[in-house]
């Protein structure tokens, strides 16, 4: 993908990636790879980003106390870090989603008005 498009997507990601992670974790606690898989599945592969960008986002979510990471055992018997959404994480998700809804509604209004 062109470099410019990528950096734009990065900007977009900062907000939405966090929201997607939080959303994924409401289903069940997951490790990083599972989160990526989950997001890819839900977005039908449209949301294809560097897998690596997940980890800075997870770090930010953890420093804010929205997500807790704990070491556990994966089905393949390997040590994996499982992330759980906290109560304040759910609140944050709520705020994000309603904000996102407003933006979508606005865009929708502009598009249909033209």
């Amino acid at each position: 993908m062109p470099k410019n498009a990528k950096s734009q997507q990065d900007e977009l990601l900062k907000g939405t990636l966090e929201m997607l992670i939080l959303k994924s974790l409401t289903v069940q606690p997951m490790h990083g790879y599972a989160i990526v898989q989950h997001i890819a599945r839900l977005s039908n592969g449209v949301f294809a980003v560097d897998h690596g960008s997940l980890y800075p986002a997870l770090a930010r979510l953890q420093t804010n106390g929205w997500v807790i990471g704990k070491w556990g055992e994966s089905p393949t018997k390997r040590r994996a870090r499982y992330y759980t959404i906290t109560a304040s994480g759910r609140r944050r998700l709520g705020e994000k989603v309603s904000g996102f809804d407003r933006v979508l509604a606005a865009i929708d209004g502009v598009m249909s008005g033209s």
Binding site: Y33, V36, D50, H51, G52, Y55, A59, R79, A80, T86
Partner: protein, 884 residues
């Protein structure tokens, strides 16, 4: 829950950075291997399958980049920013080495002085004594209201009552400080030690490191032949050999068995106690309520406050007063042991010093703040540009603060080095009787406090200029003709305020120093009533086990005869109480024909041999000295001081009058009438700043004593006689040590040593403060003048007299000086009171000192302003106008 987890996460990222990085790597590896597995299982192509790991990496993106990003997101971004700030600050320092050196040195001086004094305060006051729960140990004294002595000693019956009736002390024990002649180990030694009952050790809560302590059985005559050594003595005399237990040593001519060794830090009753024997109380003392002989030590019961203990003990004392007439006016006074060891005067002195160095530090801070302000003005363009580029005010403040904190760290490090050197000087000039001085040093506690103070310093002197800078507004810069923010009017006011505050602090310091110096000079000028120059003193304590009174008299007689024969000795004599260090014994007295009054002060008594007054250069006002006509069998005679003569026989001659010791109804067979044969001029014998009391002197032959102070008047340097005097004693008793050999000049300078010490220190801090503040005032005036160059140029171009310009600038600076002076005098008037206990013969609000300090300071400020003013007046108008 989330909050806590977030904190733990940040904490881990910050302090367990290694583990954090390792775990992140493990997590990413796990991710990559799952992704690789996934690719492998879904791919059909063998080649793709082989490259699964590579594909996984590609899908992940730049691993290092994302790891770093994660690190930044985990709260470490702040530190990366700080690193950037530090690098920037260091670069700035390299660009202006002069500024960095001046600012760093100023801070170093301030912090160095503070660190040095704090380490003394720490060792002497803040560090607990080496006993468990030392603040619960109390020195228990008899409060002698009759004599105005709060720390007087007890009689055993009183102490026994206090002990059995109180509910507040878990231990209470009498003790005594004792001197020993240690013989049988080479040169006979005089050693200071303690006679302690087992309970005194219990009260202190200290166990021996080798052997055992005394038991109650040791406290009876015949069972007391045991001794416990100090660590120091054990090390010096027995090479720290544990086999010393069971060995015998000879003390005062009597053999005692060593049963234990105390830990190194144990020093009781005094700092120089080297050994301890059991306290054996003679039977007679157990019943004599008027025989005041013992200090006491106790420990508060758990949960009992000092206030409660004081009131409980006072209530008992009050009962005893009513019950027993001799106890009239005797209460109880209790002091926590730490306060006893480092007394109130010394504590006050040290806190005042700490206050003084804190003031010096503040002045140093103010100087650096002013320097930074000036520099900020120069850097205004840089700041403006950075703000225009979008740097936030907070970010700028942080960057400027990083600079000032870094500067203070440089200064602090240099300051600690200065403090180490300064402490060496301090130890050299400190009076030798300062307690706990060996604990003084730059240790962990001191370093911790210094680091905190250093950081605070950096923030204090950096914050104001930083905030000022960040407030820079383009509009303001434009309005002020290119000189906005720090160099504008607000900046000028700030600078002047800082200088005024500095000068105010200097006035307070100078006043304090002036008062202490005046005290010291007054003391040095006080007439002692005797001539300490050329006098050698030493004490000789004959052991009771070896000498009876007759033998003792004979020994002293032949010793004195031999001493008088030494070439260079003018005269020699004895007295029982050390001059200038010990308070002489005293008791009630009755003058013949005069009823004893309730508030009659006690009369001191000393035993002297003939020639004493001549030897110390005291003037006999009337009558005669003791001579050969005074005998054991002849009538009892005394020489009294002028004070006593005037007290009992005002308006008439005291010669031929009679008095006796003891109260109104004392049996005259016990205390015979004593005839006054001489009156001597008053001597300030217990100290220059001590009041003169009623004093009496008894001839040696009529009251021989085994312990005497030998006083020798020398025609040349008294210390040069020491070996001959030792030889004289060896000739009469080779086992008898001479102790405390010193000149009276030494004793005297020791007496005022603490005052000289505090006067010297406070004065040097005041001078340091003055220098710093003068530099500050000079710097600010120079800067302000430089700012006004254009204005001055216009004035000169319009024909102003250069002298008028000089005057204008100086007067402008003097205004600031006057404001500072007024505030300072106000501050001095309200704070020097704190030092009043350290002053003698001068009021804390001494007008002469304050006026002198004010005049001096104004002179200095005028000078600091004159130099830049003169430079300004010489400005070439053309050059000045071309500026900007």
């Amino acid at each position: 829950m989330g909050m806590f987890a977030a904190l733990r996460y940040r904490f881990r990222a910050l302090f367990r950075a290694d583990a954090f990085a390792r775990e992140l790597k493990e997590e990413i590896d796990f991710h990559l291997s799952l992704e690789a597995m996934q690719t492998e299982s879904t791919a059909t192509d063998a080649e793709v399958r082989g490259d699964a790991r590579y594909a996984a990496r590609r899908r992940f993106g730049n691993v290092t980049h994302y790891a770093e990003e994660t690190r930044a997101m985990s709260g470490l971004g702040f530190f990366d920013m700080a690193r950037q700030d530090i690098r920037f600050a260091l670069r700035t320092f390299r660009h202006s080495p002069g500024f960095t050196a001046v600012a760093g040195l100023t801070i170093a001086l301030g912090l160095g002085a503070t660190t040095a004094i704090f380490s003394v305060v720490n060792a002497l006051i803040l560090q607990p004594l080496p006993y468990p729960e030392a603040d619960r140990i109390v020195a228990v004294w008899m409060d002698n209201r009759k004599l105005g002595v709060r720390e007087d000693i007890h009689s055993i019956p009183n102490l026994t009552d206090l002990k059995s009736q109180n509910q507040v002390l878990s231990h209470l024990a009498a003790y005594n400080a004792v001197g020993f002649n240690l013989t049988g180990t080479g040169e006979p030694q005089r050693i200071i030690g303690g006679a302690l009952p087992a309970e005194a050790f219990d009260a202190l809560g200290v166990k021996p490191i080798v052997g055992r302590l005394f038991t109650a059985e040791n406290e009876t005559t015949g069972n007391d032949g045991v001794v416990v050594l100090s660590y120091g003595l054990w090390q010096a005399n027995y090479a720290s050999d544990p086999a010393v237990i069971g060995k015998e040593i000879e003390l005062n001519g009597r053999k005692r068995t060593v049963i234990g060794v105390m830990p190194k830090a144990f020093a009781f009753p005094s700092q120089d106690s080297r050994l301890w024997v059991p306290l054996v109380i003679p039977d007679g003392m157990r019943t004599a309520r008027f025989a005041y002989a013992y200090p006491a030590i106790g420990r508060l019961k758990p949960g009992v406050s000092l206030a409660r203990a004081r009131s409980d003990m006072s209530a008992i004392a009050k009962r005893l007063e009513q019950q027993y007439p001799p106890n009239h006016d005797y209460g109880v006074y209790m002091v926590p042991l730490p306060e006893q060891v480092v007394g109130q005067t010394l504590r006050t002195t040290l806190w005042i010093m700490l206050g003084a160095v804190a003031a010096v530090l503040l002045i140093a801070c103010a100087n650096v703040a002013n320097l930074l302000l000036s520099r900020a003005a120069v850097r205004e363009r840089e700041v403006t540009v950075r703000m225009a580029l979008g740097a936030s005010g907070g970010r700028l403040i942080r960057q400027l603060l990083t600079e000032s904190v870094l500067l203070s760290l440089i200064g602090g490090t240099a300051g600690v080095l200065l403090a180490v050197g300064g402490l060496r000087v301090l130890r050299a000039i400190a009076p030798s009787d300062l307690p706990r001085m060996d604990g003084v040093g730059v240790n962990g506690t001191v370093l911790l406090v210094t680091s905190i103070v250093t950081l605070a310093t950096g923030i204090v002197f950096g914050l104001v200029p930083a905030m000022q800078s960040s407030r820079t507004r383009l509009s303001e810069s434009l309005r002020d003709g290119g000189r906005g923010g720090t160099s504008g009017r607000a900046g000028q006011r700030l600078r002047r305020t800082i200088v005024a505050a500095q000068l105010a602090l200097v006035v307070v310091l100078l006043t304090g120093a002036g008062l202490l110096i005046r005290t010291f000079v007054t003391l040095q000028g006080t007439s002692l009533g005797f001539e300490p120059r050329g006098i050698l003193t030493m004490s000789v304590q004959l052991p009771r086990a070896k000498y009876n009174q007759r033998q003792g008299s004979a020994l002293f007689q032949s010793f004195l005869d031999r001493v008088r024969a030494i070439p260079g000795v003018v005269s020699a004599s004895t007295i029982t109480t050390m001059m200038l260090s010990t308070t002489p014994n005293s008791t009630g007295a009755k003058a013949e024909g005069r009823a004893v009054r309730e508030n009659d002060p006690e009369v001191t008594f000393d035993v002297t041999s003939p020639g004493f007054f001549k030897t110390v250069g005291a003037r006999l006002i009337a009558g005669r000295d003791f001579d050969a006509s005074d005998r054991d069998s002849s009538q009892s005679v005394a020489i009294i001081n002028e004070h006593m003569a005037k007290f009992y026989w005002p308006g008439t001659s005291a010669i031929g009058k009679r008095f006796r010791f003891g109260g109104e109804n004392t049996d005259s067979t016990q205390a015979p009438w004593i005839t006054v044969v001489g009156v001597v001029a008053d001597m300030r014998r217990t100290g220059v700043d001590m009041p003169v009391r009623n004093e009496s002197f008894i001839p040696y032959v009529q009251s021989p004593s085994l312990g005497n102070l030998v006083v020798i008047k020398a025609a040349r340097d008294p210390m040069s006689l020491v070996s001959s005097v030792r030889a004289a004693m060896r000739a009469v008793d080779p086992n008898q040590p001479l102790s405390n050999i010193r000149t009276m000049d030494q004793t005297l300078s020791q007496l005022i040593a603490q005052r000289r010490f505090s006067a010297t220190l406070v004065a040097s801090f005041a001078v340091l403060a003055l220098v710093l503040a003068t530099i500050g005032a000079y710097g600010v005036t120079s800067y302000l003048v430089a700012q006004r160059t254009k204005e001055i140029g216009v004035r000169l171009a319009l024909g102003a007299d250069p002298r008028a310009v000089t005057r204008l600038v100086v007067l402008d600076g003097m205004k600031v000086g006057l404001v500072g002076l007024l505030i300072g005098v106000g501050g001095a008037l309200s704070t020097t009171r704190l030092a009043s206990s350290l002053l003698y013969g001068v009021s804390p609000r001494d007008p002469a000192t304050i006026i002198g300090v004010s005049a001096f300071l104004l002179l200095v400020v005028a000078f600091a302003n004159y130099l830049p003013a003169r430079r300004a007046a010489r400005v070439d108008p053309l050059v000045a106008l071309r500026q900007d």
